[in-house]
């Protein structure tokens, strides 16, 4: 059951005896429960926040490429005339040609594609492809291809879950069954969108965290899957290769870093 109050959504887990609060604006979670007759509200770490502790070398290379591309484009447009080498990156950032702008565009694209999946999950309506411009259209094509191949029947969509035991929370894109594939397994799906449709290593840890929390929330998946849709309309699927223990190790490191930073 879901309730909304002052920008927060509340998800009741009656069997487990707690309520999970999610605030979309800040992407933060709180656990509400009764402890010895008194209500408590405990902040929870988000899974994506935990994973920020990991080094992502590919991200560095990407950021470098974004900056270089932005500078080159501006140079060709004549916008960098008289700008010193040291200051070029500031102009790139100011004119929205650097990493931040690309990251924001990627986030918007990701949100849009997730909404398409959510809408399909809630209504069963296939997306109208001409409603989307390139390059988002390519990602939606990839999503349609996957939907056609897996024909998922949703059990829960955009479902917040949490681990009371380990104090973290996250939001699962889709719990679904795919009877069209001849099995009745419950699949946990996490959707990724990036130009090449790559499934990055840390994504496995993310879904392992969801699996662990899902068990505590009464949504134990038989299979944990990653889906990446690409700009060229293709998609890639992979089972999760990480375990709950793998994620808990990262969670511990994240807490150590937070403690040391204080």
């Amino acid at each position: 059951m879901t309730m909304e109050k002052e920008g927060s959504e509340f998800f009741r887990f009656d069997e487990q005896g707690f309520v999970l609060e999610y605030r979309d604006v800040s992407h933060r979670y709180w656990l509400h429960e009764l402890i010895e007759g008194k209500s408590s509200r405990t902040p929870l770490q988000s899974v994506t926040g935990v994973l920020r502790v990991l080094d992502k070398p590919a991200l560095l290379a990407w950021a470098e490429a974004c900056g270089a591309e932005g500078a080159l484009r501006l140079e060709r447009m004549g916008e960098l005339e008289g700008v010193s080498f040291e200051n070029a990156i500031n102009v790139v950032r100011m004119l929205g040609m650097g990493m931040d702008a690309k990251r924001d565009a990627a986030a918007d694209r990701g949100t849009l594609v997730h909404r398409v999946l959510e809408h399909y999950g809630r209504t069963g309506e296939a997306p109208e492809i001409s409603d989307f411009e390139f390059p988002v259209r390519g990602y939606v094509q990839g999503l349609c291809s996957w939907l056609l191949e897996w024909m998922p029947e949703p059990v829960a969509i955009e479902q917040p879950i949490c681990s009371r035991l380990h104090n973290y929370a996250g939001r699962v894109d889709l719990f679904a069954r795919s009877p069209a594939r001849g099995r009745d397994d419950l699949y946990l799906w996490d959707l990724k969108t990036n130009p090449a449709g790559t499934i990055y290593t840390e994504s496995h840890l993310q879904t392992a965290a969801y699996e662990l929390a899902g068990i505590e929330c009464g949504l134990e998946p038989d299979m944990v899957m990653l889906l990446a849709v690409a700009e060229n309309g293709e998609f890639q699927v992979s089972p999760c290769h990480a375990s709950g223990d793998d994620f808990l190790a990262v969670l511990e490191v994240s807490r150590i870093m937070r403690r040391l930073a204080k």
């Binding site: 060709r76 069963g124 296939a126 997306p127 109208e128 492809i129 001409s130 390139f134 390059p135 259209r137 390519g138 939606v140 094509q141 990839g142 999503l143 349609c144 291809s145 939907l147 056609l148 024909m151 700009e231 060229n232 309309g233």
Partner: protein
């Protein structure tokens, strides 16, 4: 400008993947805007810059798995020339050629650079059969390829019947159309869309 020399790239039948990708690209009938103005003596003219070409065409080439490269070289006679290559990355099938720049061996680097840019634009437009247009804000001025003409009602009905026979529900038909980038609004279907449907169904058949 200079001569065009085609490399020996094999017979056309040897490159089915490359031709299919180029066919799909051409079916989009993309129009390139003339975005810059030049002048020869008293005559002013508009042309499509390399930037306009790249911005419009490169994402579509990438969509179909095509890589376009050019390289300034000296041809067999020692003249400045531009070698180009259109590569279908997945299959390795390619179309290559050499276009002479038409500048003499005493030309300054600036003259050579200008000729290279000129030939990069024209080789690209020639190989892709791209036509620059005056403006894209008036649909009537944009040439519409035959492939983009709307289907007759009879052909639309036939196509829809075939799809419904192939898939078990309207929902799966719509997902199939989405997966190949074709609108579910059948009144907007074109020959290009029919081609995409045919190729999409073939692909699904191959998977099974």
């Amino acid at each position: 400008m200079g001569d065009v020399k085609m490399d020996s790239n094999g017979a056309e039948g040897d490159k089915p993947e490359l031709w299919a990708a180029l066919l799909a690209l051409q079916a989009e009938a993309l129009a390139i805007q003339r975005d810059a103005e030049g002048q020869i003596q008293n005559r002013k003219y508009k042309y499509a810059t390399l930037t306009a070409l790249n911005e419009k065409m490169l994402p579509r080439l990438a969509h179909y798995g095509l890589l376009w490269t050019t390289k300034p070289i000296r041809d067999e006679d020692g003249e400045h020339a531009l070698a180009y290559r259109m590569l279908h990355v997945a299959s390795g099938e390619r179309e290559t050629g050499i276009m002479g720049l038409g500048v003499d061996t005493q030309a300054t680097p600036q003259m050579i650079g200008s000729a290279i840019t000129y030939m990069r634009r024209y080789s690209f437009m020639a190989i892709l059969n791209v036509v620059p247009v005056e403006t894209d804000d008036d649909g009537a001025k944009v040439p519409r390829a035959a492939a983009e003409r709307k289907l007759t009602e009879r052909r639309r009905t036939n196509a829809l019947s075939k799809l419904l026979a192939r898939f078990d529900s309207l929902q799966t038909v719509e997902l199939f159309l989405g997966s190949i980038g074709v609108t579910t609004r059948s009144e907007e279907w074109t020959d290009s869309d029919l081609l995409k449907m045919k190729r999409g169904l073939e692909k699904r058949g191959e998977k099974k």
